[in-house]
Amino acid sequence: MAQSSAIHVKGIGKRFGSFVALSQVDLDIRAGELVALLGPSGSGKTTLLRIIAGLEWPDQGELLLNSDNALRRGVRERQIGFVFQHYALFRHMSVLENVAFGLRVMPRRRRPGDAEIRSRVQRLLELVQIGHLGDRYPSQLSGGERQRVALARALAIEPAVLLLDEPFGALDAKVRKDLRRWLRQLHDRLCMTTVFVTHDQEEALELADRVVVLGHGRIEQVGTPEEVYGAPRNPFVFDFLGQVNRVRCQVRGGRPLVPYAHIEQMNGDGAQDGPGTLYVRPHDVVLQRDPAGPATVRFVGVVGPVVRLEVEVIMGAPVLEAEMPHHVYAGYRFTAGDRVSVRFRAATLFSDVAGEQLLSPADLSLTSAAL
């Protein structure tokens, strides 16, 4: 198993004082894979990345890079390309020299000649599409250009693994989208094992082959974007990925008691009787005009790719969010105050585990704002 994976993490744990940054983390990343470490701040995602790079040392566990015990090696010997969140460019060097740095500091017997360095750097700059900026200084570049320089600099040493810490965190939304697409294309061309850290679920789901969802220093779920979004394994992943309605309910005989809504498809492997929570994506909430219906439309937002509605259930239950495509909405033309019936196309049920702290509604709205 370990032989086939580019990065093999086993039982890694790390504490900072009394704060547990990582506990018992196991992870395998295959060669050539593009993997996202996704989680809220404080989930340990950056710590894990820094441990892989050798910028941080775990308290326990083992780490193999291409089947080689990496914990025996310092950061300099690991041949890791690391792109820092704030680029960490050398501001007294031109773009060319920044990219050439990794080649210039090589031991003399391995160091390429000056002409060779120049041509390699120029090729890299062309690769990241800033071939004309070689003589500029970092202070003369935009954020997106700096990010490209940082990437070219990391690639110059022909790293075994490329690690990126919040690579698009400091860029504005438009540049971020462009760079994201471009990074995906670049990865497909280079086929380099790449791990990036992000707190932006959209970024992770759009860019990565596989997404590793981290929370409170543990891995909550690993899977393809479809798997983690479509079949979250636990409430944490559900809360963190995408927008979701959480409906508190009682579970009886493995079924939730939700008198005001019809549930078409129930997911979740058998919740225990007692208090539980039903997770329903807004696009799985189906509304139908019904004068005797149990809910009232409170808000209709038609701006954006889908129509967003807020529905208040009359029997004291929560406000539900629903989404529908514009063409479906056109058939109903709901307005605030309309009475409707509610149907859940799909819903997932989890028992409330005593002591398990769910994200607060404030966190929920934050995570949904990102989508």
């Binding site: 300099r76 041949q79 960490a88 050398f90 740095f101 990794g102 110059a156």
Partner: protein
């Protein structure tokens, strides 16, 4: 026409010029394309918005004229006037006499000691001051704040006090002087003593110039260098020192300037043997006490000139390092 005048302000950097030229062409095209009525209406409004002088930047902050005037008046009164008076007085000295004075063996020896010891002290502080600043910024240890405030003591201590305590310490029967004397090293009453006193008084300048830059230097920079395979040594020489260099040059210049002008602490420890441990500022005082005002101003004028040239050189070096360091 008016719009091109507006754009005609001096362009900052070379590569900006092209862009601006392009922008200018666009703007001109636009004005040509616009209907004549609006073009006729715009000049008075543009004329109002135009700055009064071409070199004067437009700013929403008022009071530029007033503050600049006050600044220049203050600078003239406090700095320029005494300097002019010095040169006027020096110019009234007979040229032959002037040359004879400043080329006399005693004066040359004093100037050499003053500038040599000041440069040596500034250099020593550039090394150890940087180290001190590094320790203060990078590490957290008990007593750090105490050490931090100790750095400022040479600023605050009357220099005579410093001189007397240094003399007591380094004299042949002092705490440090006695063991050093056994090794055959004499500090007090020698040029070495001058150096020690100058190091003492100029230390804070280097530390305080470098500290803020070090604080801004993010650890990520060093981590990036390490990831790229640089050794600690390569990181220090290729990344940290070049980044610090402008601040280091500033600290060096300040320390040097302070050391050249230092008088109080040196005269106690130097012993003031003419030609051996007599510094130039003391020589000026001695000349004054002998009522040889012409000779005193001659020495002073030479000191001033030398200091000016050295500070200018450091400044140019600093500017060069800011823009051309990558070619090293």
């Amino acid at each position: 026409m008016s719009s091109s005048a507006l754009l005609d302000r001096p362009a900052g950097r070379g590569h900006d010029q092209q862009r601006r030229a392009a922008a200018r062409v666009e703007t001109l095209d636009l004005t040509q394309a616009s209907p004549p009525t609006s073009a006729d209406a715009s000049p008075p409004c543009l004329a109002d918005a135009r700055p009064k002088a071409a070199w004067r930047p437009r700013s929403i902050i008022p009071g530029f004229g007033l503050t600049l005037g006050l600044t220049l008046a203050w600078l003239g009164l406090i700095v320029m006037l005494p300097l002019v008076a010095l040169f006027a007085r020096a110019a009234s000295v007979d040229p032959g006499r002037f040359i004879e004075t400043v080329t006399s063996e005693r004066v040359l020896a004093a100037l050499q000691l003053s500038f040599g010891a000041a440069l040596a002290a500034a250099l020593a502080n550039a090394v150890f001051g940087t180290l001190l600043a590094w320790v203060l910024v990078r590490y957290r240890f008990p007593g750090r704040r105490l050490v931090d405030s100790l750095v400022d003591v040479p600023f605050a201590l009357p220099t005579a006090v410093a001189g007397i305590s240094l003399t007591a310490l380094y004299a042949e029967n002092g705490w440090l002087g006695a063991p050093l004397a056994e090794l055959g090293i004499k500090v007090a009453f020698t040029p070495l003593g001058v150096f020690v006193a100058l190091v003492f008084v100029s230390l804070p300048f280097v530390v305080r110039s470098i500290e803020p830059v070090l604080q801004d230097l993010s650890p990520e920079i060093e981590e990036a260098a390490a990831c790229l395979g640089a050794s600690r040594w390569q990181t220090i020489w290729r990344v940290i020192v070049p980044t610090l260099f402008p601040a280091l040059a500033t600290g060096f210049a300040l320390a040097f300037a302070r050391a050249v002008g230092e008088y109080g602490s040196v005269i106690f420890i130097a012993g003031n043997l003419p030609g051996i441990s007599e510094i130039a500022p003391l020589l000026i005082v001695i000349k004054l006490e002998e009522y040889a005002y012409g000779e005193a101003t001659a020495v002073a004028a030479v000191m001033l000139l030398l200091s000016f040239v050295l500070l200018l050189a450091i400044n140019l070096l600093q500017r060069w390092s800011r823009s051309h360091l990558e070619r090293r």
